[in-house]
Amino acid sequence: MDAFLTPPESEALLLSLRISFVAVFGALPLAFLAALLLARTRFPGKTLVDGLIHVPLVLPPVAIGFLLLMAFGTRGPLGGFLLHNLGIRFVFSWTGAALASAIITFPFQVRAIRLSLEAIDGGLAQAAQTLGAGWWDRLFNVTLPLALPGIAAGVITAFAASLGEFGAIITFVSNIPGETRTLPLAIYTALQAPGGEAEAMRLSLLSILLALIFMTLAEFAQRRARSRA
């Protein structure tokens, strides 16, 4: 890889991948639960919960970054607690970037999983029940496998969206090389330097390549989903 990319470039690429990976898979169990809740249950305030989950879709990412900074800054209510009691710090750290990405891409995951859950024939769970399967059994052996295509689609979409996240990351965790400087931030940095257009172009091409890979993966997952249905 070093034959094609300069060390700062590969650093940004690997960091982007690491942050997105942690963001997406860290949020996945929660996204599945949220989707299950929205698809299968009725409770007062469901519309509100649904709305809250989707807020990151419509809020400017910079605003989310700012809110995260307020909450998780070392003097913020959550950030102070985490730092003093558990020694966890999100600000100016790649984990903070992952947190921001997770929140921004959460709706993509929930949406895709919810759709696939709603497409599952409810009668199947009932059949499983009469055949002796309890709640967890049904979840792992009927619901989860049938929702797998939706989960895959959600993961891929969220991953792709996460790779492009800029505003929330730069606002919340700043632009630290090797720590929070992901591909979009590296492009931005390159543009700030005089004569950095060539560097920005290389990084943009790299982003396009990544996007193509993920689009192909998504298409592949979708085709598999269709052939199973």
């Binding site: 009469t130 055949l131 399967a133 199973r228």
Partner: protein, 365 residues
């Protein structure tokens, strides 16, 4: 083996209030128009529906008693539920579908039992296939096998044939008959097709608007004069359990029952074989004197029990032939001309008999 059911539940604009028992292994049909509450009852037994009031006991185990606050979850009831739409798991092979309940059963069916069900339902060649590659009839058979292998204490069949066309239906019926005859299980068959009920059921519960309109053996209920009003259909006629008593040299097989003997074209089963005969009401003619010089092989001496009272152009005549009940549909004018009334001795000329030979073409086990 016995199952007792008593339920009460009010839905908006509809109340369910029933109580009946399945005293022994065999098929009890839950018969009624759609909306009569059939599926609700089955769901209550399976545990996927929780009625406001009720008590259900399966083989001595109380699975529902609203007064005592007992509600055993569906997953622990061991009811083999065969849904109208099969509901096979699309992400599993037929084999894994079949074994889904088996893997979760407290007392598992043996390998020999699995083999038995696979052969009985003709599933051998389907095992590695996915449900979406199966025909409607094949799906039904897999659903039946899956329910059976979960070692159920009762088999719940919710219109297992309703989604099938006539040809598939006649393909599945023999399998259901052999299930009835070979599995020592109480079975509850939900149906709105009387011919299906006549062929499969031992007992019938007739439902109407959430209540029980009639209850009894299939032999009595299907010859009941009130059935047309209850079921909104012509009487099916008689259902007669008979025994093969002789294969005559003239090619006819003699079938005896309490009340007489009927002769039908040669049957493959050996002498002593038991089967079920059906005689449709339209297939019986009545005569006051023993008819001579007619082509019909079957003439039974009988006595009029009752006449239907409706003001229609036809009359349904209930007949006693020994301990067997028959029903004949003739014109009202004929009934008047013959002066038929309760007690009148008559001769019933049986024009045709339907023989339900259970699964004669299935492999012997």
């Amino acid at each position: 083996m016995s199952v007792e059911i008593a339920l009460r539940h009010e839905f908006p604009g509809f109340a369910l209030d029933i109580a009946f028992a399945l005293p022994k292994p065999g098929v009890t049909a839950l018969f009624g128009a759609s909306g009569a509450g059939k599926t609700t009852i089955v769901n209550a037994i399976a545990g996927t529906f929780r009625p406001r009031q009720g008590r259900i006991v399966i083989n001595g185990r109380v699975v529902l008693d609203t007064e005592a606050g007992i509600f055993v979850p569906a997953a622990q009831r061991r009811t083999g539920y065969v849904f109208q739409d099969a509901r096979l798991f699309p992400h599993m092979s037929v084999e894994n579908n079949l074994l889904f309940g088996w893997r979760r059963a407290a007392s598992r069916a043996s390998a020999a039992d699995i083999e038995h069900v696979v052969v009985l339902l003709g599933l051998r060649s389907l095992l590695q296939r996915r449900p979406r590659a199966l025909s409607g009839g094949e799906k039904s058979r897999v659903a039946l096998g899956r329910a059976l292998l979960s070692s159920p204490e009762i088999l719940l069949l919710d219109e297992p044939l309703a989604s099938l066309d006539a040809q598939r239906r006649s393909e599945i019926l023999p399998y259901l008959e052999s299930l009835r005859d070979e599995m020592r299980l109480p079975m509850l068959l939900v149906s709105h097709a009387l011919d299906e009920v006549a062929r499969l059921a031992d007992d019938i519960v007739v439902l109407r608007d959430g209540r029980m309109a009639a209850e009894g053996s299939v032999f009595d209920i299907l010859t009941g004069l009130e059935l047309p009003a209850l079921a909104g259909s012509p009487p099916v006629g008689a259902v007669i359990p008979a025994t093969i008593t002789a294969h005559r040299s003239d090619g006819l097989t003699a079938l005896s029952f309490d009340g007489g003997t009927l002769y039908v074209a040669h049957l493959a089963q050996p002498v002593g074989g038991r089967l079920r005969l059906r005689v449709r009401a339209e297939e019986i003619m009545l005569a006051l004197e023993e008819p001579r010089g007619i082509s019909a092989n079957n003439v039974l001496a009988a006595q009029v029990l009752a006449l239907s009272r409706e003001e229609t152009s036809h009359a349904d005549i209930q007949l006693a032939c020994g301990a067997t009940r028959l029903v004949a549909r003739i014109t009202r004018a004929s009934a008047v001309r013959l002066g038929l009334g309760p007690g009148t001795p008559v001769f019933a000329i049986v024009k045709s008999v339907t023989v339900d030979a259970p699964a004669a073409h299935l492999p012997r086990l």
